[in-house]
């Protein structure tokens, strides 16, 4: 028994390189935002106007037409009728802008697009390299941030979130802390509002207790490391449209079509959280060098 991937037999010279749309209603803002992200990797076209063999996947929303057989489908669930539709039932995945059925929830945007997870042991070395204290607690209340108790300007909020040993944060700024993978302590209301699962942050309603927990985190590598990564994962799933769009695309179309090696490379890098502007991406593309992106591209 050797498992095989879902591979369709394709006519010679044809590659599935488009994502098709079957829209029976005007797309909601969240669906528009998702499509915007998808177009960064795949051309999005009206499914009805293209040969099915050229579709890598199809997004369906309340349309009377049935997607072509064999084309993987993501069904947008606008309401209960969409959820009950046979196309949704047979779809490879279901997507929506709110928690409904088993749909992947699409965030409205990417809250902190410049963020990147910084693990506690890296934070420690960053502080040491910059002559900062070995332990430094960040704190956010409303829009105000502090570093070791000292207020900092808005331009330094990301710096605090990325370098602090731990962060106490209540309100919406907790999302910034999560985005940077800060070991975070928050209150119950914030945890509830953000839908934080156990393990994504420590919770205490008393400010002094929060401060004490944050200080303990600075000495607890194992707990800090777990919180750091869980924080970032939660941020990506709930507040990072780009990341969610990538997951939707990966589940819908699988690996990028082999006829587009550079797209495959970019998709692989993106799956590791690394965008096209990162030096590692630059090196990867440099190594690909003059290789044509499609097998039949002429190089002369």
């Amino acid at each position: 028994m050797t498992s095989t991937r879902d591979r369709r037999a394709l006519p010679h010279g044809v590659a599935p390189e488009f994502v098709g749309l079957l829209l029976g209603r005007s797309p909601t803002p969240a669906l528009v935002a998702l499509l915007g992200e998808i177009t960064r990797r795949y051309p999005v076209v009206a499914a009805a106007g293209i040969e099915p063999e050229r579709l890598a996947g199809c997004i369906w929303y309340a349309d009377w037409r049935t997607p072509p057989e064999g084309v993987p489908v993501a069904a947008w669930l606008g309401d209960e009728a969409d959820a009950a539709h046979p196309v949704s039932a047979a779809a490879r995945l279901r997507i929506a802008d709110r928690p409904v059925a088993d749909a992947v929830v699409i965030p409205p945007d990417t809250a902190h697009p410049d963020s990147a997870p910084v693990a506690p042991h890296v934070r420690r070395r960053l502080r040491a390299a910059r002559g900062l204290p070995a332990v430094a607690i960040g704190s956010a209340d409303g829009e105000s941030w502090t570093w070791s108790g000292e207020p900092v300007g808005a331009s330094l909020r990301d710096t605090v979130a990325a370098n602090a040993s731990a962060v106490t944060a209540v309100g919406n700024e907790a999302v910034r802390a999560l985005a940077w993978g800060a070991p975070t302590v928050t209150d119950a209301e914030t945890a509830d509002t953000l839908g934080l699962p156990p393990g994504a942050a420590l919770v205490a309603d008393d400010p002094e207790r929060r401060a004490a927990l944050a200080a303990e985190l600075a000495d607890d590598d194992r707990l800090s490391a777990g919180l750091s990564w869980a924080a970032r994962r939660h941020y990506e799933q709930r507040h990072d449209l780009g990341w969610v769009a990538l997951q939707v695309l990966s589940r819908l179309v699988g690996p990028a079509a082999a006829s587009r090696p550079r797209r495959r490379l970019d998709t692989v890098l993106a799956s590791l959280g690394t965008g096209p502007g990162h030096p590692v991406a630059g090196r990867a593309h440099a190594l690909v060098g003059d290789l044509p992106d499609r097998p039949h591209e002429e190089t002369t």
Binding site: A119, H121, R125, W229, V268
Partner: protein, 373 residues
Amino acid sequence: MIGSETGRVGLGSGQRWGAGSNVEGVSRVDVVVCGAQKPFMYGGAEMHQENLVRALQAAGHRAELVRLPVAWEKDRLFDSPLAWRLCPIDADLVIATNFPSYFVSHPVKVVWLFHQHRGAYDAVDAPWNDIGSDDVSLETQRLLTEWDARALGEARHVFTTSSVVADRLLRYTGLQGEPLHHPAPLMPELLEAGRGGRFDDYVFCPTRLDASKRPGKVLEAVAVARSGVRGVVAGRGVLADALAHQAKQLDASDRFSLPGFVSDADLVGLYADALAVVYAPADEDYGYVTLQAFAAGKPVITSADAGGVLEWVEDGVTGFVTDGSAEAMGAAIDTLAGDPERARAMGAAGRDRVQGLAWEPVVRRLVEAAGVA
């Protein structure tokens, strides 16, 4: 020097896999074991990968080993992970082992983690490491930690070779790993030979002669010991000449020998007749030497910072855990030299700890965790 001649788990009497394994009723799966290899280096990790493939085959599965080369310099550190990511592997299950093979992309991935790239983690200050405190280095460290967490987080289950590796994984990436212990090479031969072995006037250490293994500790302990016990350190490596020179400096050349590479048969013999094994590497991942010593019925003298060795050596029961100083290790040697019966009892206790290790349950656990059979 842990069975480097063949590297194979022996097929001596009492073998735990191969003969007698029941393949009836086993759903056969196609397994690819993924491993990284530094070109021209062959050691414990490579043996482990090959033995795993044999064990999978003995259990009735189709198994192959796929290796890709790896570079550890920070400007090439991400090349091999990307290569693994792009490799199409058609199999029911992949079992990834050392860095960066666990970057392999497969819907059914189980990781049996030998080690991550320690230069980004606990060995960041090691002299061989090029990840410094400059901005490029710090971003390299940050990115590799992120990539490791993502790649390892994809696995259906993460096992580790030892509690030490599991603890490192938790401490640096926040991920949980389950220790899964396996037998060392030559265990059947050592169990057999150890039954009739003597407790002669030497302590033994088979190891690669490099800084991480700290073979000099054996020499220093022997030089300090008052009982006149000799030291035999078998193996090859960059420190061979330095050790010979140091032995002369310590006036211990007559009590310290470096036989270099020895055959499997000679290795078994050296274990079998040793008074004890002295093994104090720096934060070892697992420690085949410990298991082999115990299989041969020998106590182990080690240090408190030896890492995975300490998962097996219990101070005063199966050996001695010292502070690693020459004086403390020398005193432990003298204790055993003066009381061979105690050495025998400790060795017997060590044997009890390891003689249950087998490949069959390991294979069963790996395949079961994948959920494919």
